[in-house]
Protein backbone atom coordinates (compact mmCIF):
# COMPACT_ATOMS: atom_id res chain seq x y z
CA UNK A 1 0.00 0.00 0.00
CA UNK A 2 1.19 3.49 -0.68
CA UNK A 3 0.48 5.32 2.57
CA UNK A 4 4.14 6.22 2.94
CA UNK A 5 5.38 9.73 2.13
CA UNK A 6 5.59 9.96 -1.66
CA UNK A 7 9.17 10.03 -2.93
CA UNK A 8 10.07 12.49 -5.70
CA UNK A 9 10.57 9.56 -8.07
CA UNK A 10 8.12 6.68 -8.16
CA UNK A 11 10.51 4.57 -10.19
CA UNK A 12 14.23 4.76 -10.84
CA UNK A 13 16.26 2.18 -12.76
CA UNK A 14 19.99 2.77 -13.11
CA UNK A 15 22.19 0.84 -15.53
CA UNK A 16 19.92 -2.18 -15.42
CA UNK A 17 21.19 -5.42 -16.96
CA UNK A 18 19.21 -8.66 -17.29
CA UNK A 19 20.88 -11.67 -18.81
CA UNK A 20 19.24 -14.99 -19.74
CA UNK A 21 22.12 -17.44 -20.17
CA UNK A 22 24.33 -15.82 -22.80
CA UNK A 23 21.61 -13.50 -24.08
CA UNK A 24 21.63 -9.96 -22.71
CA UNK A 25 17.95 -9.01 -22.75
CA UNK A 26 18.38 -5.68 -20.96
CA UNK A 27 21.66 -3.90 -21.56
CA UNK A 28 22.19 -0.87 -19.33
CA UNK A 29 18.71 0.60 -19.11
CA UNK A 30 18.25 3.72 -17.00
CA UNK A 31 14.77 5.10 -16.45
CA UNK A 32 13.00 7.48 -14.11
CA UNK A 33 9.30 8.14 -13.65
CA UNK A 34 7.48 10.48 -11.29
CA UNK A 35 4.25 9.99 -9.36
CA UNK A 36 1.24 10.72 -11.58
CA UNK A 37 3.30 10.40 -14.75
CA UNK A 38 2.43 8.04 -17.62
CA UNK A 39 5.58 6.71 -19.23
CA UNK A 40 5.29 4.78 -22.49
CA UNK A 41 7.87 2.02 -22.83
CA UNK A 42 8.14 1.26 -26.52
CA UNK A 43 10.16 -1.07 -28.66
CA UNK A 44 9.85 -3.81 -31.24
CA UNK A 45 9.25 -7.41 -30.16
CA UNK A 46 12.30 -8.72 -28.31
CA UNK A 47 13.56 -5.21 -27.47
CA UNK A 48 13.56 -6.03 -23.75
CA UNK A 49 10.44 -4.21 -22.53
CA UNK A 50 8.90 -7.22 -20.82
CA UNK A 51 12.25 -8.09 -19.22
CA UNK A 52 12.49 -4.55 -17.80
CA UNK A 53 8.96 -4.87 -16.42
CA UNK A 54 9.73 -8.29 -14.93
CA UNK A 55 12.97 -6.99 -13.40
CA UNK A 56 11.02 -4.13 -11.78
CA UNK A 57 8.44 -6.60 -10.48
CA UNK A 58 11.33 -8.69 -9.03
CA UNK A 59 10.25 -11.88 -10.81
CA UNK A 60 13.35 -12.11 -12.99
CA UNK A 61 16.75 -11.69 -11.35
CA UNK A 62 18.70 -8.54 -12.20
CA UNK A 63 22.24 -9.25 -13.43
CA UNK A 64 23.45 -5.78 -12.40
CA UNK A 65 22.13 -2.29 -11.82
CA UNK A 66 19.75 -0.78 -9.32
CA UNK A 67 15.98 -0.41 -9.14
CA UNK A 68 14.13 1.87 -6.75
CA UNK A 69 10.35 1.57 -6.59
CA UNK A 70 8.65 4.12 -4.36
CA UNK A 71 11.92 4.38 -2.42
CA UNK A 72 12.41 0.60 -2.01
CA UNK A 73 15.36 -1.19 -3.60
CA UNK A 74 15.90 -4.80 -4.62
CA UNK A 75 17.08 -5.79 -1.15
CA UNK A 76 13.41 -5.58 -0.12
CA UNK A 77 11.46 -7.29 -2.92
CA UNK A 78 8.37 -7.68 -0.74
CA UNK A 79 8.21 -3.89 -0.28
CA UNK A 80 8.64 -3.42 -4.04
CA UNK A 81 5.87 -5.88 -4.85
CA UNK A 82 3.66 -4.20 -2.25
CA UNK A 83 4.13 -0.90 -4.11
CA UNK A 84 3.35 -2.10 -7.62
CA UNK A 85 0.38 -3.23 -9.67
CA UNK A 86 0.95 -5.31 -12.77
CA UNK A 87 -1.13 -6.26 -15.78
CA UNK A 88 1.09 -8.83 -17.51
CA UNK A 89 0.94 -9.55 -21.22
CA UNK A 90 0.28 -13.27 -20.67
CA UNK A 91 -2.72 -12.65 -18.50
CA UNK A 92 -4.92 -15.63 -17.67
CA UNK A 93 -7.90 -15.85 -15.36
CA UNK A 94 -9.60 -18.68 -13.51
CA UNK A 95 -12.74 -19.12 -15.60
CA UNK A 96 -14.92 -20.47 -12.81
CA UNK A 97 -14.25 -17.67 -10.32
CA UNK A 98 -16.38 -14.55 -10.15
CA UNK A 99 -14.67 -11.20 -10.64
CA UNK A 100 -15.36 -10.26 -7.03
CA UNK A 101 -13.88 -13.48 -5.64
CA UNK A 102 -10.85 -13.05 -7.90
CA UNK A 103 -10.18 -9.48 -6.78
CA UNK A 104 -10.85 -10.30 -3.12
CA UNK A 105 -8.25 -13.07 -3.29
CA UNK A 106 -5.65 -10.68 -4.71
CA UNK A 107 -6.52 -7.98 -2.19
CA UNK A 108 -5.93 -10.52 0.60
CA UNK A 109 -2.60 -11.49 -0.96
CA UNK A 110 -1.66 -7.82 -0.60
CA UNK A 111 -2.33 -8.06 3.14
CA UNK A 112 -5.86 -6.68 3.39
CA UNK A 113 -8.12 -8.36 5.93
CA UNK A 114 -11.04 -10.25 4.31
CA UNK A 115 -13.66 -7.54 4.97
CA UNK A 116 -11.46 -4.73 3.66
CA UNK A 117 -10.45 -6.94 0.72
CA UNK A 118 -14.11 -7.45 -0.26
CA UNK A 119 -14.78 -3.72 0.07
CA UNK A 120 -11.77 -2.82 -2.06
CA UNK A 121 -12.75 -5.46 -4.67
CA UNK A 122 -16.28 -4.03 -4.93
CA UNK A 123 -14.89 -0.48 -5.23
CA UNK A 124 -12.54 -1.43 -8.08
CA UNK A 125 -15.22 -3.42 -9.89
CA UNK A 126 -17.59 -0.43 -9.72
CA UNK A 127 -14.82 1.90 -10.83
CA UNK A 128 -14.13 -0.22 -13.91
CA UNK A 129 -17.75 -0.90 -14.76
CA UNK A 130 -17.77 -4.58 -13.81
CA UNK A 131 -20.62 -4.42 -11.35
CA UNK A 132 -22.20 -7.78 -12.21
CA UNK A 133 -20.27 -9.79 -9.63
CA UNK A 134 -22.17 -13.04 -10.01
CA UNK A 135 -20.89 -13.82 -13.53
CA UNK A 136 -17.96 -16.25 -13.73
CA UNK A 137 -14.89 -14.77 -15.43
CA UNK A 138 -15.12 -17.48 -18.10
CA UNK A 139 -18.14 -15.68 -19.56
CA UNK A 140 -16.31 -12.32 -19.81
CA UNK A 141 -15.45 -10.69 -23.14
CA UNK A 142 -11.82 -9.80 -23.89
CA UNK A 143 -12.49 -6.18 -22.95
CA UNK A 144 -14.08 -7.14 -19.64
CA UNK A 145 -11.12 -9.37 -18.84
CA UNK A 146 -8.67 -6.56 -19.54
CA UNK A 147 -10.67 -4.23 -17.32
CA UNK A 148 -10.65 -6.92 -14.63
CA UNK A 149 -6.88 -7.19 -15.08
CA UNK A 150 -6.59 -3.44 -14.57
CA UNK A 151 -8.85 -3.65 -11.51
CA UNK A 152 -6.58 -6.38 -10.14
CA UNK A 153 -3.48 -4.30 -10.82
CA UNK A 154 -5.05 -1.37 -8.95
CA UNK A 155 -6.35 -3.41 -6.01
CA UNK A 156 -3.46 -2.39 -3.71
CA UNK A 157 -3.51 1.31 -4.75
CA UNK A 158 -0.03 0.91 -6.26
CA UNK A 159 2.54 3.66 -6.49
CA UNK A 160 3.71 2.21 -9.82
CA UNK A 161 1.38 0.52 -12.29
CA UNK A 162 3.07 -1.63 -14.94
CA UNK A 163 0.94 -2.53 -17.93
CA UNK A 164 2.16 -4.81 -20.71
CA UNK A 165 0.02 -4.43 -23.84
CA UNK A 166 -3.15 -3.61 -21.90
CA UNK A 167 -5.25 -2.80 -25.00
CA UNK A 168 -4.17 -5.82 -27.04
CA UNK A 169 -7.19 -7.33 -28.79
CA UNK A 170 -9.63 -4.67 -27.62
CA UNK A 171 -12.06 -2.92 -29.95
CA UNK A 172 -11.69 0.90 -30.31
CA UNK A 173 -14.36 1.59 -27.69
CA UNK A 174 -12.72 -0.82 -25.26
CA UNK A 175 -9.33 0.78 -25.87
CA UNK A 176 -10.71 4.25 -25.22
CA UNK A 177 -12.39 3.07 -22.06
CA UNK A 178 -9.25 1.45 -20.68
CA UNK A 179 -7.04 4.43 -21.53
CA UNK A 180 -9.52 6.78 -19.87
CA UNK A 181 -9.33 4.65 -16.71
CA UNK A 182 -5.54 4.72 -16.84
CA UNK A 183 -5.36 8.47 -17.21
CA UNK A 184 -7.84 8.97 -14.39
CA UNK A 185 -5.86 6.65 -12.12
CA UNK A 186 -2.67 8.60 -12.82
CA UNK A 187 -4.32 11.96 -12.21
CA UNK A 188 -6.63 11.14 -9.30
CA UNK A 189 -4.49 8.65 -7.37
CA UNK A 190 -1.04 9.93 -8.35
CA UNK A 191 -0.13 6.55 -9.76
CA UNK A 192 2.95 6.35 -11.94
CA UNK A 193 1.99 4.30 -15.01
CA UNK A 194 4.50 2.41 -17.14
CA UNK A 195 2.68 1.51 -20.35
CA UNK A 196 4.27 -1.02 -22.73
CA UNK A 197 2.40 -0.94 -26.00
CA UNK A 198 2.73 -1.31 -29.73
CA UNK A 199 -0.29 0.99 -30.21
CA UNK A 200 1.77 4.11 -30.84
CA UNK A 201 -1.23 6.34 -31.49
CA UNK A 202 -2.59 5.67 -28.01
CA UNK A 203 0.86 6.05 -26.46
CA UNK A 204 1.20 9.42 -28.18
CA UNK A 205 -2.18 10.45 -26.82
CA UNK A 206 -1.91 9.38 -23.16
CA UNK A 207 1.78 9.31 -22.28
CA UNK A 208 3.59 12.25 -20.71
CA UNK A 209 6.92 10.77 -21.75
CA UNK A 210 8.13 7.84 -23.79
CA UNK A 211 11.25 5.67 -23.69
CA UNK A 212 12.07 3.73 -26.84
CA UNK A 213 13.98 0.46 -26.45
CA UNK A 214 15.86 -1.52 -29.05
CA UNK A 215 18.16 -4.50 -28.50
CA UNK A 216 17.92 -4.14 -24.73
CA UNK A 217 18.91 -0.46 -24.69
CA UNK A 218 17.05 2.82 -24.37
CA UNK A 219 17.56 4.60 -27.69
CA UNK A 220 15.37 7.63 -26.94
CA UNK A 221 13.73 9.06 -23.85
CA UNK A 222 11.65 12.20 -23.30
CA UNK A 223 8.38 13.82 -24.26
CA UNK A 224 6.82 12.63 -27.51
CA UNK A 225 7.87 15.90 -29.23
CA UNK A 226 11.42 15.55 -27.90
CA UNK A 227 11.70 11.94 -29.06
CA UNK A 228 10.25 12.76 -32.48
CA UNK A 229 12.61 15.71 -32.84
CA UNK A 230 15.59 13.63 -31.79
CA UNK A 231 14.73 10.84 -34.19
CA UNK A 232 15.59 12.96 -37.24
CA UNK A 233 12.39 12.06 -39.10
CA UNK A 234 11.12 14.87 -41.27
CA UNK A 235 7.80 16.70 -41.20
CA UNK A 236 5.97 17.63 -44.38
CA UNK A 237 3.83 20.52 -45.49
CA UNK A 238 1.94 21.10 -48.75
CA UNK A 239 1.31 24.76 -49.46
CA UNK A 240 -0.75 26.13 -52.36
CA UNK A 241 0.04 29.68 -53.45
CA UNK A 242 -0.93 31.82 -56.46
CA UNK A 243 1.14 30.96 -59.55
CA UNK A 244 2.74 34.42 -59.46
CA UNK A 245 3.94 33.86 -55.86
CA UNK A 246 5.68 30.50 -56.43
CA UNK A 247 9.19 31.87 -56.94
CA UNK A 248 8.97 34.27 -54.01
CA UNK A 249 7.60 31.51 -51.79
CA UNK A 250 10.41 29.19 -52.88
CA UNK A 251 12.97 31.80 -51.89
CA UNK A 252 11.61 32.51 -48.40
CA UNK A 253 10.96 28.84 -47.65
CA UNK A 254 14.48 27.74 -48.59
CA UNK A 255 15.86 30.47 -46.35
CA UNK A 256 14.33 28.80 -43.31
CA UNK A 257 16.96 26.70 -41.44
CA UNK A 258 14.40 23.96 -40.61
CA UNK A 259 13.52 23.42 -44.27
CA UNK A 260 15.51 20.60 -45.84
CA UNK A 261 13.81 20.35 -49.24
CA UNK A 262 11.32 22.23 -51.40
CA UNK A 263 9.65 20.39 -54.30
CA UNK A 264 6.90 21.09 -56.83
CA UNK A 265 4.04 18.99 -58.00
CA UNK A 266 3.97 19.41 -61.81
CA UNK A 267 0.47 18.03 -61.98
CA UNK A 268 -0.75 20.80 -59.67
CA UNK A 269 0.85 24.13 -60.50
CA UNK A 270 1.11 26.34 -57.43
CA UNK A 271 1.47 23.44 -54.99
CA UNK A 272 4.75 23.35 -53.04
CA UNK A 273 5.89 20.35 -50.98
CA UNK A 274 8.17 21.30 -48.09
CA UNK A 275 10.23 18.88 -46.00
CA UNK A 276 11.24 20.12 -42.53
CA UNK A 277 13.34 18.96 -39.65
CA UNK A 278 11.16 17.97 -36.64
CA UNK A 279 11.58 21.25 -34.74
CA UNK A 280 8.98 22.74 -32.42
CA UNK A 281 6.79 25.44 -34.00
CA UNK A 282 7.71 24.52 -37.57
CA UNK A 283 4.13 25.04 -38.73
CA UNK A 284 3.90 28.59 -37.43
CA UNK A 285 7.38 29.41 -38.76
CA UNK A 286 6.29 28.43 -42.27
CA UNK A 287 3.15 30.52 -42.11
CA UNK A 288 5.02 33.47 -40.62
CA UNK A 289 7.68 33.68 -43.34
CA UNK A 290 5.04 33.43 -46.06
CA UNK A 291 2.86 36.13 -44.53
CA UNK A 292 5.90 38.35 -43.84
CA UNK A 293 6.70 38.11 -47.56
CA UNK A 294 3.05 39.08 -48.33
CA UNK A 295 2.31 35.66 -49.77
CA UNK A 296 -1.12 34.40 -48.82
CA UNK A 297 -1.38 30.58 -48.83
CA UNK A 298 -4.52 29.32 -50.57
CA UNK A 299 -4.17 25.92 -48.90
CA UNK A 300 -1.93 24.70 -46.11
CA UNK A 301 -1.64 21.04 -45.08
CA UNK A 302 0.92 20.30 -42.37
CA UNK A 303 1.86 16.72 -41.47
CA UNK A 304 3.66 16.59 -38.16
CA UNK A 305 6.11 13.71 -37.79
CA UNK A 306 4.30 10.99 -35.87
CA UNK A 307 5.70 8.91 -33.04
CA UNK A 308 5.32 5.89 -35.32
CA UNK A 309 7.76 7.48 -37.84
CA UNK A 310 10.21 8.23 -35.03
CA UNK A 311 9.79 4.70 -33.66
CA UNK A 312 10.65 3.15 -37.02
CA UNK A 313 13.61 5.47 -37.51
CA UNK A 314 14.98 4.90 -34.01
CA UNK A 315 14.61 1.15 -33.93
CA UNK A 316 15.83 0.57 -37.49
CA UNK A 317 18.83 2.75 -36.67
CA UNK A 318 19.46 0.46 -33.74
CA UNK A 319 19.48 -2.57 -36.05
CA UNK A 320 21.84 -0.88 -38.50
CA UNK A 321 24.40 -0.06 -35.83
CA UNK A 322 24.36 -3.57 -34.39
Amino acid sequence: MTDEPTPALALECVDLHVRYGTFMAVDGVSLVARPGEILGLLGPNGAGKTSVVRAITTIVPVTSGTILVNGHDLTDPVAIRTSIGVLPESNGYPGIQTAKAHLTFYAELFGLDPREARRQAEHRLRQLGLDDKSQPIGTFSRGMRQRLGLARALINRPAVLLLDEPTLGLDPAGREDLLRQLASSAVEEGTCVILCSHQLDEVERVCDRVAVMDHGRIVADGTVDHVVAGSGVTQRARIRVALGDVLAADEVLRALPAVSAVEYDNARPGDIDVELAPVDGARSQLLKVLLDARIEPRAFDFQRAALSDAFLALTSRGRETE
Binding site: M1, D3, A25, V60, R81, P88, G92, L109
Partner: protein, 269 residues
Protein backbone atom coordinates in the same frame (compact mmCIF):
# COMPACT_ATOMS: atom_id res chain seq x y z
CA UNK B 1 9.03 4.22 12.73
CA UNK B 2 6.12 6.47 11.72
CA UNK B 3 2.48 5.41 11.83
CA UNK B 4 2.29 5.11 8.05
CA UNK B 5 5.50 3.08 7.93
CA UNK B 6 4.11 0.83 10.65
CA UNK B 7 0.85 0.37 8.70
CA UNK B 8 2.80 -0.51 5.55
CA UNK B 9 4.90 -3.00 7.54
CA UNK B 10 1.72 -4.57 8.92
CA UNK B 11 0.43 -5.04 5.38
CA UNK B 12 3.73 -6.68 4.47
CA UNK B 13 3.60 -8.93 7.53
CA UNK B 14 0.08 -10.04 6.63
CA UNK B 15 1.19 -10.61 3.05
CA UNK B 16 4.00 -12.80 4.39
CA UNK B 17 1.42 -15.18 5.86
CA UNK B 18 -0.21 -15.41 2.46
CA UNK B 19 0.02 -19.20 2.43
CA UNK B 20 -3.26 -19.26 4.33
CA UNK B 21 -4.91 -17.13 1.66
CA UNK B 22 -3.47 -19.36 -1.09
CA UNK B 23 -4.57 -22.49 0.80
CA UNK B 24 -8.12 -21.17 1.22
CA UNK B 25 -8.43 -20.18 -2.43
CA UNK B 26 -6.86 -23.37 -3.80
CA UNK B 27 -9.01 -25.57 -1.57
CA UNK B 28 -12.14 -23.71 -2.63
CA UNK B 29 -11.13 -23.98 -6.30
CA UNK B 30 -10.50 -27.70 -5.90
CA UNK B 31 -13.72 -28.56 -4.13
CA UNK B 32 -16.12 -26.03 -5.61
CA UNK B 33 -15.12 -26.93 -9.17
CA UNK B 34 -15.77 -30.19 -10.96
CA UNK B 35 -12.11 -31.19 -10.66
CA UNK B 36 -11.85 -32.36 -7.06
CA UNK B 37 -15.30 -33.88 -6.94
CA UNK B 38 -14.92 -35.79 -10.22
CA UNK B 39 -11.54 -37.22 -9.17
CA UNK B 40 -13.05 -38.22 -5.82
CA UNK B 41 -16.06 -39.77 -7.56
CA UNK B 42 -13.76 -41.84 -9.78
CA UNK B 43 -11.82 -42.93 -6.68
CA UNK B 44 -15.04 -43.90 -4.91
CA UNK B 45 -16.30 -45.92 -7.88
CA UNK B 46 -12.97 -47.75 -8.23
CA UNK B 47 -12.91 -48.56 -4.52
CA UNK B 48 -16.57 -49.67 -4.56
CA UNK B 49 -15.99 -52.05 -7.45
CA UNK B 50 -12.91 -53.48 -5.78
CA UNK B 51 -14.65 -53.87 -2.41
CA UNK B 52 -17.56 -55.64 -4.10
CA UNK B 53 -15.24 -58.01 -5.91
CA UNK B 54 -13.19 -58.64 -2.76
CA UNK B 55 -16.04 -59.31 -0.39
CA UNK B 56 -19.49 -58.70 -1.76
CA UNK B 57 -20.15 -61.87 -3.69
CA UNK B 58 -19.22 -65.20 -2.15
CA UNK B 59 -19.20 -66.86 -5.57
CA UNK B 60 -16.42 -64.66 -6.93
CA UNK B 61 -14.55 -63.95 -3.71
CA UNK B 62 -11.31 -65.89 -3.65
CA UNK B 63 -9.77 -63.99 -0.71
CA UNK B 64 -10.20 -64.40 3.01
CA UNK B 65 -11.36 -61.41 5.09
CA UNK B 66 -7.85 -60.18 5.99
CA UNK B 67 -6.68 -60.42 2.40
CA UNK B 68 -9.77 -58.54 1.24
CA UNK B 69 -9.12 -55.69 3.68
CA UNK B 70 -5.44 -55.70 2.70
CA UNK B 71 -6.29 -55.36 -0.98
CA UNK B 72 -8.75 -52.54 -0.34
CA UNK B 73 -6.32 -50.69 1.96
CA UNK B 74 -3.42 -51.00 -0.52
CA UNK B 75 -5.64 -49.89 -3.39
CA UNK B 76 -6.92 -46.97 -1.35
CA UNK B 77 -3.34 -45.91 -0.57
CA UNK B 78 -2.30 -46.24 -4.22
CA UNK B 79 -5.33 -44.57 -5.79
CA UNK B 80 -5.65 -41.98 -3.01
CA UNK B 81 -2.03 -41.00 -3.54
CA UNK B 82 -2.65 -40.86 -7.28
CA UNK B 83 -5.55 -38.42 -6.81
CA UNK B 84 -3.38 -36.10 -4.69
CA UNK B 85 -0.51 -36.37 -7.19
CA UNK B 86 -2.82 -35.43 -10.07
CA UNK B 87 -3.76 -32.25 -8.19
CA UNK B 88 -0.26 -31.31 -7.00
CA UNK B 89 1.40 -32.00 -10.36
CA UNK B 90 -0.96 -29.44 -11.91
CA UNK B 91 -0.54 -26.85 -9.16
CA UNK B 92 2.27 -24.71 -10.59
CA UNK B 93 2.63 -25.92 -14.18
CA UNK B 94 -1.13 -25.51 -14.63
CA UNK B 95 -0.93 -21.88 -13.48
CA UNK B 96 2.00 -21.39 -15.83
CA UNK B 97 0.07 -22.79 -18.80
CA UNK B 98 -3.10 -20.85 -17.99
CA UNK B 99 -1.09 -17.61 -17.77
CA UNK B 100 -2.06 -16.96 -14.15
CA UNK B 101 1.34 -17.55 -12.53
CA UNK B 102 2.85 -14.13 -13.25
CA UNK B 103 -0.01 -12.28 -11.56
CA UNK B 104 0.52 -14.48 -8.50
CA UNK B 105 4.30 -13.97 -8.42
CA UNK B 106 4.05 -10.18 -8.49
CA UNK B 107 2.09 -10.09 -5.23
CA UNK B 108 4.06 -9.62 -2.00
CA UNK B 109 3.46 -13.25 -1.03
CA UNK B 110 6.72 -15.24 -0.98
CA UNK B 111 7.08 -18.10 -3.43
CA UNK B 112 7.53 -20.60 -0.62
CA UNK B 113 4.19 -19.44 0.80
CA UNK B 114 2.52 -19.94 -2.58
CA UNK B 115 3.97 -23.46 -2.78
CA UNK B 116 3.08 -24.23 0.86
CA UNK B 117 -0.53 -23.15 0.33
CA UNK B 118 -0.80 -25.21 -2.85
CA UNK B 119 0.82 -28.24 -1.20
CA UNK B 120 -1.61 -28.17 1.69
CA UNK B 121 -4.56 -27.69 -0.67
CA UNK B 122 -3.46 -30.67 -2.80
CA UNK B 123 -3.17 -32.71 0.41
CA UNK B 124 -6.88 -32.21 1.04
CA UNK B 125 -7.40 -34.53 -1.93
CA UNK B 126 -5.77 -37.36 0.04
CA UNK B 127 -7.77 -36.43 3.15
CA UNK B 128 -10.99 -36.66 1.12
CA UNK B 129 -9.89 -40.02 -0.31
CA UNK B 130 -9.14 -41.17 3.23
CA UNK B 131 -12.62 -40.14 4.39
CA UNK B 132 -14.13 -42.11 1.50
CA UNK B 133 -11.92 -45.18 2.10
CA UNK B 134 -12.33 -45.46 5.89
CA UNK B 135 -15.94 -46.75 5.86
CA UNK B 136 -14.98 -49.40 3.30
CA UNK B 137 -12.17 -50.84 5.43
CA UNK B 138 -14.13 -50.59 8.67
CA UNK B 139 -17.11 -52.47 7.17
CA UNK B 140 -14.90 -55.09 5.49
CA UNK B 141 -12.72 -55.72 8.55
CA UNK B 142 -13.44 -58.97 10.32
CA UNK B 143 -13.49 -57.80 13.94
CA UNK B 144 -12.35 -54.64 15.76
CA UNK B 145 -8.65 -55.63 15.86
CA UNK B 146 -8.43 -55.91 12.07
CA UNK B 147 -10.50 -52.79 11.68
CA UNK B 148 -8.18 -50.80 13.93
CA UNK B 149 -5.10 -52.15 12.13
CA UNK B 150 -6.61 -51.28 8.76
CA UNK B 151 -7.48 -47.73 9.85
CA UNK B 152 -4.00 -47.20 11.34
CA UNK B 153 -2.28 -48.51 8.22
CA UNK B 154 -4.42 -46.32 6.03
CA UNK B 155 -3.90 -43.20 8.14
CA UNK B 156 -0.20 -43.62 9.02
CA UNK B 157 1.32 -45.48 6.10
CA UNK B 158 -1.09 -44.06 3.50
CA UNK B 159 -0.79 -40.56 4.91
CA UNK B 160 3.01 -40.61 4.71
CA UNK B 161 3.11 -42.09 1.20
CA UNK B 162 0.52 -39.59 -0.04
CA UNK B 163 2.31 -36.65 1.61
CA UNK B 164 5.65 -37.63 0.09
CA UNK B 165 4.27 -38.11 -3.41
CA UNK B 166 2.12 -34.96 -3.25
CA UNK B 167 5.26 -32.98 -2.43
CA UNK B 168 7.10 -34.73 -5.27
CA UNK B 169 4.33 -33.81 -7.72
CA UNK B 170 4.49 -30.19 -6.63
CA UNK B 171 8.29 -30.08 -6.88
CA UNK B 172 8.09 -31.46 -10.42
CA UNK B 173 5.33 -28.99 -11.27
CA UNK B 174 7.55 -26.11 -10.12
CA UNK B 175 10.31 -26.68 -12.63
CA UNK B 176 8.71 -28.65 -15.47
CA UNK B 177 7.37 -26.09 -17.93
CA UNK B 178 4.58 -28.19 -19.46
CA UNK B 179 1.59 -29.29 -17.44
CA UNK B 180 1.29 -32.52 -19.41
CA UNK B 181 4.97 -33.33 -18.78
CA UNK B 182 4.53 -32.60 -15.07
CA UNK B 183 1.54 -34.95 -14.79
CA UNK B 184 3.23 -37.66 -16.88
CA UNK B 185 6.46 -37.50 -14.85
CA UNK B 186 4.70 -37.52 -11.48
CA UNK B 187 2.36 -40.40 -12.32
CA UNK B 188 5.19 -42.41 -13.91
CA UNK B 189 7.30 -42.03 -10.77
CA UNK B 190 4.38 -43.12 -8.59
CA UNK B 191 3.83 -46.22 -10.75
CA UNK B 192 7.55 -47.04 -10.78
CA UNK B 193 7.75 -46.73 -7.02
CA UNK B 194 4.64 -48.86 -6.53
CA UNK B 195 5.76 -51.59 -8.94
CA UNK B 196 8.32 -53.42 -6.71
CA UNK B 197 5.71 -54.27 -4.07
CA UNK B 198 3.64 -55.97 -6.77
CA UNK B 199 6.53 -58.15 -7.97
CA UNK B 200 6.95 -61.15 -5.63
CA UNK B 201 10.33 -62.06 -7.20
CA UNK B 202 11.93 -58.94 -5.75
CA UNK B 203 10.98 -59.75 -2.16
CA UNK B 204 12.32 -63.25 -2.54
CA UNK B 205 15.70 -61.99 -3.73
CA UNK B 206 18.24 -62.81 -1.03
CA UNK B 207 19.50 -59.41 0.16
CA UNK B 208 18.91 -56.62 -2.30
CA UNK B 209 15.15 -57.14 -2.74
CA UNK B 210 14.04 -56.41 0.83
CA UNK B 211 16.42 -53.45 1.06
CA UNK B 212 14.99 -51.94 -2.12
CA UNK B 213 11.46 -52.50 -0.85
CA UNK B 214 12.26 -50.75 2.46
CA UNK B 215 14.16 -47.89 0.81
CA UNK B 216 11.34 -47.12 -1.59
CA UNK B 217 8.66 -45.17 0.34
CA UNK B 218 5.72 -46.42 -1.73
CA UNK B 219 6.67 -50.10 -1.74
CA UNK B 220 7.58 -49.86 1.97
CA UNK B 221 4.16 -48.41 2.78
CA UNK B 222 2.35 -51.05 0.75
CA UNK B 223 4.48 -53.86 2.20
CA UNK B 224 3.71 -52.64 5.70
CA UNK B 225 -0.01 -52.85 4.86
CA UNK B 226 0.48 -56.39 3.61
CA UNK B 227 2.52 -57.48 6.63
CA UNK B 228 0.16 -56.04 9.22
CA UNK B 229 -3.18 -56.84 7.61
CA UNK B 230 -2.55 -60.08 5.70
CA UNK B 231 0.46 -61.69 7.36
CA UNK B 232 -0.72 -60.53 10.80
CA UNK B 233 2.73 -59.39 11.90
CA UNK B 234 3.09 -57.13 14.93
CA UNK B 235 3.38 -53.33 14.50
CA UNK B 236 6.55 -53.35 16.57
CA UNK B 237 8.25 -55.41 13.85
CA UNK B 238 7.13 -53.00 11.11
CA UNK B 239 8.69 -49.70 12.17
CA UNK B 240 11.48 -50.18 9.63
CA UNK B 241 8.91 -49.88 6.83
CA UNK B 242 7.91 -46.42 8.07
CA UNK B 243 11.44 -45.02 7.88
CA UNK B 244 11.58 -44.34 4.15
CA UNK B 245 8.04 -42.88 3.97
CA UNK B 246 8.90 -40.52 6.86
CA UNK B 247 12.25 -39.51 5.37
CA UNK B 248 10.73 -39.12 1.89
CA UNK B 249 7.93 -36.92 3.25
CA UNK B 250 10.41 -34.64 5.04
CA UNK B 251 12.91 -34.53 2.15
CA UNK B 252 10.38 -34.05 -0.64
CA UNK B 253 8.38 -31.42 1.26
CA UNK B 254 11.61 -29.53 1.95
CA UNK B 255 12.62 -29.91 -1.70
CA UNK B 256 9.24 -28.61 -2.93
CA UNK B 257 9.50 -25.55 -0.68
CA UNK B 258 13.18 -24.91 -1.47
CA UNK B 259 12.58 -25.29 -5.21
CA UNK B 260 9.94 -22.58 -4.91
CA UNK B 261 12.77 -20.03 -4.79
CA UNK B 262 13.79 -21.09 -8.29
CA UNK B 263 10.25 -21.05 -9.59
CA UNK B 264 10.26 -19.57 -13.09
CA UNK B 265 7.62 -18.21 -15.40
CA UNK B 266 8.84 -20.37 -18.21
CA UNK B 267 8.62 -18.00 -21.17
CA UNK B 268 11.75 -15.99 -20.38
CA UNK B 269 14.63 -16.68 -22.69
Amino acid sequence: MTTTERAARQHQERARSGWRVVLRKETADLWLSAKGLSVLLAFSIALSVLAYLASGDAAINLLDARESVGVVVKTAIGLGTLTAVVVSADAISGERERGTLEALLVTPVARRDIVTGKLLAASTMWLAALVVALPFVVVMADGPRVGLDAVLVLVISGGLVAAALTALGLAISSFVMSNRASLAASISILLMLAAPSQLPAITKSATLGPVLIKANPVSAGLTLADNVLVKQQEWTEQWIYLLSPILATIALTAAAILLARRLQLGDAR
